[in-house]
């Protein structure tokens, strides 16, 4: 079994009085695709936000390659190699595609390496390359999603957090996004994927976790989860 890249240990996160995460634990192995399933409001996005340092857990520990990052600033966590493509894409609408990508590399200094990453992202998403000077706000939904993923890749992440990357996309684009996720994973980047499309997510994932109202109720190898009755009923519509 390969090394653990991320360990989430008994994490509790609050929004004011709302207890969004009620002690969740996850181990994520280096190089895998891990999917986090759950219904609306279960706390999936909050889990990603807690890992990326956008919100800070009240209790619990998050370790990245053994280093405690629980209370670190978001910028520090980005620098250490966690990139996030957030729910709703959140691109910078009045920056060009190229500027959006450069913003993703904000925590990096080496201009040459950044240029290299830019080329890699363009190779992965040729549609972005054709639109480098276009304002991000005028891109189609699918292109904005590619930009959000590309921007997250620009920090040179070891771990990529993807929050519902296929939301609102046409079926053929959904398929493309999933293919790209696999390709990104093959370059050695570990992926934590939140998906409504549980079926497809479990097809590409190695591991899966199921979150229900702030607690993890089920976890295991994706292969097994696909055949799990409870999952089939709740998320696979079978």
């Amino acid at each position: 079994m390969s090394e653990l890249i991320l360990q989430v240990q008994d994490v509790h996160t609050y929004y004011g009085h709302i207890h969004a995460l009620k002690g969740i634990s996850m181990d994520i192995r280096q190089g895998e695709i891990v999917t986090l399933l759950g219904s609306n409001g279960a706390g999936k996005s909050t889990t990603l936000s807690s890992i990326a340092g956008i919100v800070h857990p009240a209790k619990g520990t998050i370790l990245l390659e053994g280093t405690d990052i629980t209370r670190m600033k978001c910028s520090e966590i980005t620098k250490r190699g966690i990139g996030i493509s957030p729910e709703g894409r959140e691109v910078f609408p009045r920056l060009t595609v190229a500027e959006n990508l450069l913003a993703g590399a904000y925590t990096r200094r080496d201009k040459k390496e950044i240029a290299g990453s830019l080329e890699e992202v363009y190779a992965l998403f040729p549609r972005l390359k054709e639109r480098t000077k276009q304002m991000a706000g005028t891109l189609s939904g699918g292109e904005q999603q590619m930009l959000a993923i590309g921007r997250a890749l620009m920090c040179k992440p070891k771990l990529l957090l993807l929050d519902e990357p296929s939301l609102g996309l046409a079926p053929n684009l959904v398929e493309l996004i999933f293919e790209l996720i696999v390709r990104i994973n093959k370059t050695g980047i570990t992926i934590l994927l939140i998906e409504q499309n549980a079926n497809m997510a479990l097809q590409i994932a190695d591991q899966g976790f199921v979150l229900e109202t702030g607690t993890i109720t089920l976890s295991g190898e994706a292969r097994q989860l696909r055949t799990n009755d409870a999952i089939r009923r709740a998320y696979l519509g079978k």
């Binding site: 600033k73 978001c74 910028s75 996030i84 959140e90 920056l95 500027e99």
Partner: protein
């Protein structure tokens, strides 16, 4: 006579431009009308007075001293007042009222320390004068133009071509995503306040040296006129603020010629009124008010 007035108007316009970019910088990043900016400019002028008249420093050390202290005052306003409000998710109007309150605190503190009378300010950059055609040009006027061009040029370069400038534009468009890409949002906002404070200090110092006078309410009218200039150019747009400032300075000078000095004071407000009536987004703004920076 007319050409002299136009030239004087241009000088005044440079000062308004320096102040107007202060409004635009902060508005651009926070969508906040920073009504304490006039008072911060006054503080800058008094820091100049402190350096020049009380501590007997030379021109350059005095300016640096004023820039440092005024930048610090602006950072304090952000850290002590705005940042806590912002992070509690306070409404924009709450912040607007708070900075207005801050402007009175600054003004009255200056009055308590330096008194309420107008104080003489030493001559600065006084290397004599010369004539171009019929226009009398003094050395301080040359300095004002020079400083404005250099400072605003540098500012333009910073916002368009540096990593920090990119971060500023990111925050103005999406603070949440800025945080996610690893931008230290708090620091960039502080930086913006430092720069806006520095511009105010330089404007305060130059104006005081130009008129050789400082007083604790000097920022009230200047601040409002510069605000009008920022709105005229399209608030949040740096180059627009520069054009707006110079236009207001020129219009004021022309109004002096046409209507006399008593009425020229109203020029900026008439322009502000007209802009808000006809094109609230300003000369360079897109009509959609959100489409800024």
């Amino acid at each position: 006579m007319l050409s002299q007035q136009i030239f004087n108007g241009l000088i005044l316009g440079c000062i308004y431009a320096l102040l107007a970019v202060g409004y635009s910088l902060v508005f651009g990043i926070l969508r906040l009308l920073n009504m304490s900016h006039g008072a911060v400019y006054t503080a800058g002028a008094f820091m100049g007075l402190l350096g020049a008249s009380y501590l007997h420093m030379g021109a350059v050390p005095t300016i640096l001293f004023a820039m440092l202290l005024t930048g610090a005052v602006n950072v304090c306003i952000n850290r002590a007042v705005l940042q806590p409000l912002r992070e509690q998710g306070a409404a924009n109007i709450t912040m607007l009222i708070s900075v207005t309150g801050v402007s009175y605190i600054i003004q009255n503190t200056l009055m308590l320390v330096f008194g309420s009378q107008k104080l003489p300010f030493p001559k600065v950059f006084d290397f004599g004068s010369f004539r171009v055609g019929g226009v009398l040009v003094t050395s301080i006027q040359v300095m004002i133009v020079l400083v404005t061009v250099v400072l605003l040029g540098a500012l333009g370069l910073i916002t368009k071509h540096t990593r920090t400038g990119l971060a500023m534009r990111c925050i103005s468009q999406n603070p949440k995503a800025s945080n996610m890409v690893g931008i230290d949002v708090r620091w960039i906002i502080s930086f913006t306040f430092i720069v806006s404070g520095i511009c105010a200090a330089i404007a305060g110092y130059m104006v005081s040296g130009y008129y050789q006078l400082v007083y604790f309410t000097m920022g009230t009218t200047a601040g409002l006129k510069a605000f009008a200039a920022a709105v005229l150019g399209g608030i949040g747009i740096l180059s627009g603020s520069v054009v707006g400032g110079i236009l207001i300075g020129l219009c004021e000078a022309l109004a002096t010629v046409v209507f006399g000095g008593e009425y020229s004071e109203a020029t900026a407000y008439v322009i502000l009124f007209l802009v808000l009536l006809i094109k609230p987004s300003g000369l360079f703004g897109k009509d959609d008010v959100d489409e800024k920076v």
